[in-house]
Symmetry: C2
Subunit: 244 residues, 2 copies
């Protein structure tokens, strides 16, 4: 009994979907996804985030450091139910770690996790959401592929670090997006440079810096500054691209 | 027809096996694994590396930036063959990306990749190897579990970054090792601090710094310096621990 028709129906009511991808873990993909959500909310949009990155902790912690409660509510009957996602800083968060009780995180490994992702996408209450952000797992493996196929009209933002072989990573992400016919909205270089707190010197920390692709945005290794620069970028570059 | 007996037999001739783990990608696990191999070789041991991290590029590039040839040779007959692993800087590298021709990297996704890993461990010529390092995939998922079960007498080195929730990552890696009865040899904090090239100031770049566990070694974000410190650590702390 495929949930794909239900997923398609549930997601069709959301005008914009943005999937955030990376070629490998640790480049700040989840953080950039959370910052995109916060920026879009600040600019007046109703935002939801689908946490599909099972390799990392709940994206809620990247949205707001001290998160009080991550409980989702299920309403309705067993064969006709709706999941009400919790809100963190005004952003709806759809994540499997909210459905399951503490200590049950393991039961959704393997093929079961996709069953759970499908249920979340099919039955979460996403009425009234303008933009859905999807935090994909890192890489372009089977998991990312399966998830991307559930959101065939998503636009893509690629995040990378200017480290060795970064160009290959980005190329792989771009090929992945093109194969699935997903429009690439922006390429973001994170951890672009460090800033000395003493003398203000800006310097590279990765030697792959000379292998850089031409990104749309370069973020420094300084969370407050990086967030401001991403917010500006969303306001001045992303929104206009989305509007056309 | 299980390859486990053949794997056990092939690996039993190697006195020391060290698996390098991480709670998530991007913390420098592959780089630390390569540096461990280079340090041990420098100290006179015959070293082999098993590249089991299919999420990243071949560990050979972390051993030596410009790698000329990564071709493994197969000798013998179809039902009784041996794989001769190529050497990079005097270190034998066992990796699936060396067996397959260019463009065939995709055929080993899913369950096939484990079949390939098993073949590599069963049939690679590892006679005369003193220490086998294993670069595990990041995380403590099914893949890491399957691989760890092929090397039940390995010792473990855990690598992490002092970022948010790092303590949970390390704890998860430690629980994983303990569940499998693998001895933890060392816990290494990588990207511990940046060094300003202008004024020499040392500073943290991650805010999770206050959540640190007590690691055995802290490496700066500066490859030459980090390698020297890791070499010292191997010489003064790791070798004595291995000898007892
Ligand atoms: N621009 C930045 N400056 C400082 N720290 C950052 C920046 N971007 C991400 N981080 C930190 O780096 C770590 C890894 O980021 P994360 O979003 O978890 O990466 P990924 O999702 O790619 O694995 C986190 O601790 C995060 O807070
Ligand atoms: N101590 C360090 N200083 C500077 N760069 C580092 C250091 N450790 C790792 N790197 C770089 O960081 C990037 C990620 O490291 P990698 O070993 O691929 O991580 P992982 O295997 O955990 O995904 C690589 O470009 C690597 O060269
Ligand atoms: Zn300085």
């Amino acid at each position: 009994l495929s949930l794909f028709p239900k997923i398609r129906e549930n997601l069709s009511q959301i005008p914009v979907k943005i999937a955030v991808m990376s070629g490998k873990g640790g480049v700040g993909k989840t953080t950039v996804c959370a910052w995109l959500a916060l920026s879009l909310k600040k600019l007046g949009f109703k935002v939801a985030v689908f946490d599909a990155d099972f390799t990392g902790p709940n994206i809620a912690y990247a949205i707001k450091e001290k998160v009080v409660s991550l409980k989702a509510k299920a309403v309705g009957t067993e064969d006709n139910y709706t999941i009400i996602p919790p809100e963190v800083d005004g952003i709806k968060v759809v994540s499997s770690s909210m459905i399951l009780d503490e200590g049950k995180a393991l039961i959704w490994r393997g093929p079961l996790k996709f069953k759970l992702f499908q249920e979340l996408l099919a039955f979460s209450d996403l009425r009234d959401v303008d933009i859905l952000l999807i935090d994909l797992p890192p890489g372009t493996g089977d998991e990312s592929l399966n998830l991307a196929q559930m959101i065939p009209d998503a636009k893509v933002i690629i995040v990378y670090q200017p480290a060795t072989l970064a160009v290959e990573d980005v190329k792989r992400s771009m090929d992945f997006a093109k194969t699935l016919n997903l429009e690439i909205l922006a390429i973001v270089e994170n951890f672009s440079y460090a800033v000395c707190p003493k003398c203000g010197e800006k310097f590279d920390i990765f030697d792959g810096a000379k292998l850089k692709v031409e990104p749309d945005l370069k973020l420094p290794i300084l969370k407050e500054k990086a967030f401001e620069e991403l917010f500006d970028f969303v306001q001045k570059k992303v929104i206009p691209r989305l509007k056309k």
